[in-house]
């Protein structure tokens, strides 16, 4: 009997769920969604959205359903190589995801349907662009009804975006805490006073928070009977949300990070040499996929992504990731996905039973880890023992390309200026000893004009 596993994140919707069987990913559609599925496919909405890269493509499958009594159909959606979460997106990724959701809603309305949810977790980045992955998010539009997902859109998209743009870019991390989006009263209290002079923010965040408080737990059936919302009003609402989102911007300039990018730690020729050596090692390692940890603006991630190798480019700094994403978007780079991640405290598993959204480590199905100019930050700034670092990397992927940066390097000297050197084993021999417990060293190439070494290792 083949092993079947329901995907934990998709239990909320009574219309269907995702499951894995024999390495394939499928979606069971329940009979409750029969009519809406037929409308999605028959109205031309599916075709339009897929042709504009707004909705994930799927094929109807012969695969047996998991819950046969409820089942109407099984479909097989195109697989997204890496599932990312909103708290890992930079500002422009988040903004593009919000505009993608509203764009889909407008298309749906044109075809007599609406989005019945507006969860940020339903958006993923595929071939560099945001795309809706939940085929069951559509339902028939009923004239007169307000948008059921309005509150969710405001909490999942507008609140984090506004906080990132107007209060602090790091507040996207609140999405890690609140699984159903950032509460609007909290958002309202964290926003600067000037946000109240923005009509869209005043309405969708501040007034919205007041209305939620006022009507919390109240029976509104009577009030709802007396009001109606025409299709033109709904179009106006979506258009107002779109204008509000488009009005939000954030630039990495003028932040504490700005200087960080003004210079590299290498001479120009050392930089070119490092890139060349990396290229050589990649040709030897032939990875199927790569995670570049501490990727900065993704210069070295592009050594692999430009070869058509799917590469996720992680960095702790939202400004670096923003620069990386804007560059990737400008050049239509399909194989590069920049994401925000603090490696010293990576994304945990969150949600119901701690299973709804997988942790960073649980999502590791990657062939090669790239760790360039990272070891000293982990070992010296963060006191991670080298053996622990080796063990963690070995758990993530079978192959590793890692750069050792010795104490004599100016960057390490800089880290040691403000603290005592309590790292007697932090030297090349100590590094190799620690990593040999988990890896075979296949190549060790000194980087010209520096005291650094680039290693290719294979897991034991």
């Amino acid at each position: 009997m083949s092993k079947v596993e329901k995907v934990p994140g998709s239990f909320r919707d009574p219309n269907g769920f995702l499951f894995k069987r024999n390495g394939g990913l499928f979606r069971q559609i329940n009979t409750a969604y029969h009519e809406n599925y037929d409308l999605l496919m028959g109205s031309g909405l599916y075709k339009d959205l897929v042709s504009e890269d707004l909705l994930v493509e799927h094929e109807e499958s012969e695969e047996l359903p998991v819950e046969t009594k409820l089942a109407f159909k099984v479909i097989e959606p195109e697989k997204v190589p890496f599932i990312s979460f909103p708290y890992e997106w930079c500002f422009s990724q988040y903004r593009d995801a919000a505009l993608c959701t509203l764009g889909i809603m407008k298309h749906a309305l044109d075809k007599g349907m609406i989005l019945k949810d507006a969860s940020a977790y339903n958006i993923q980045f595929l071939r560099g662009k945001p795309i809706l992955i939940d085929t069951l998010s559509f339902e028939k539009y009923q004239e007169g009804l307000p948008w059921v997902a309005y509150r969710q859109f405001c909490q999942h998209f507008l609140a984090p975006l506004t906080l990132m743009a107007l209060t602090d870019i790091r507040l996207s991390q609140l999405m890690r805490v609140y699984i159903d989006g950032i509460p609007l009263d909290l958002t309202s209290s964290l926003l600067p006073g000037k946000s109240k002079f923005n009509l869209g923010l005043q309405a969708h965040i501040h007034l919205h928070a007041v209305a939620q408080k006022r009507y919390a737990g109240k029976d509104i059936k009577q009030a709802a009977q007396e009001r109606k919302m025409s299709k033109m009003a709904l179009t106006g609402l979506i258009s107002s949300l779109e204008t509000t989102v488009k009005g939000l911007s954030w630039k990495p300039e003028g932040t504490e990070w700005a200087d960080y990018y003004s210079g590299t730690n290498y001479t120009d020729s050392a930089f070119v040499s490092k890139k060349k050596l990396l290229d050589e090692l990649i040709i030897i390692a032939k990875p199927k996929s790569v995670w570049d940890l501490g990727a900065n603006t993704g210069i070295f991630s592009r050594v692999t992504s430009n070869k058509g190798i799917p590469t996720v480019s992680f960095d702790i700094d939202p400004a670096a990731v923003e620069i990386n994403y804007l560059e990737a978007r400008k050049n239509n780079e399909e194989y590069l996905l920049p994401l925000v991640l603090d490696l010293t405290n990576p994304s945990p598993a969150i949600g119901w039973a701690n299973e709804e959204r997988a942790s960073f480590g649980q999502r590791a199905q990657v062939d090669l880890i790239l760790a360039l100019a990272l070891v000293h930050h982990m070992a010296i700034s963060n006191n991670v023992p080298l053996t622990s670092l080796a063990e963690s990397f070995a758990r993530l992927a079978p192959k590793l390309i890692i750069e050792f940066v010795p104490k004599e390097d100016t960057q390490v000297q800089r880290l040691l200026v403000s603290r005592e050197d309590i790292f007697p084993d932090y030297h090349q021999d100590g590094f190799e000893r620690a990593f040999k417990a988990y890896y075979e060293i296949e190549k060790a190439l000194p980087i010209p004009e520096t005291k650094r070494t680039l290693y290719l290792m294979g897991r034991r």
């Binding site: 007034l207 209305a211 737990g217």
Partner: protein
Amino acid sequence: MIENSFVLIRVIPDILEKGRMYLDPGSGSFLLQILIATIAGAGIFLATYWRKVRDFFARKYGKKQDPQAAKKSKDE
């Protein structure tokens, strides 16, 4: 219009009671968006209406009064 209102009066309580929506729209969010949407929708209606009025006059008097504006209006 009357028909629409009738549909709404019938549909809203029905949906709220039977809980066909799997998301909780939130009472405050539900009511507030009607207010915002009505204003935003009226904005769209007025903008469309205004464009029609402007285009009408631009077509009728455009060439004599302001050829530049007429051209712009046509381009739009």
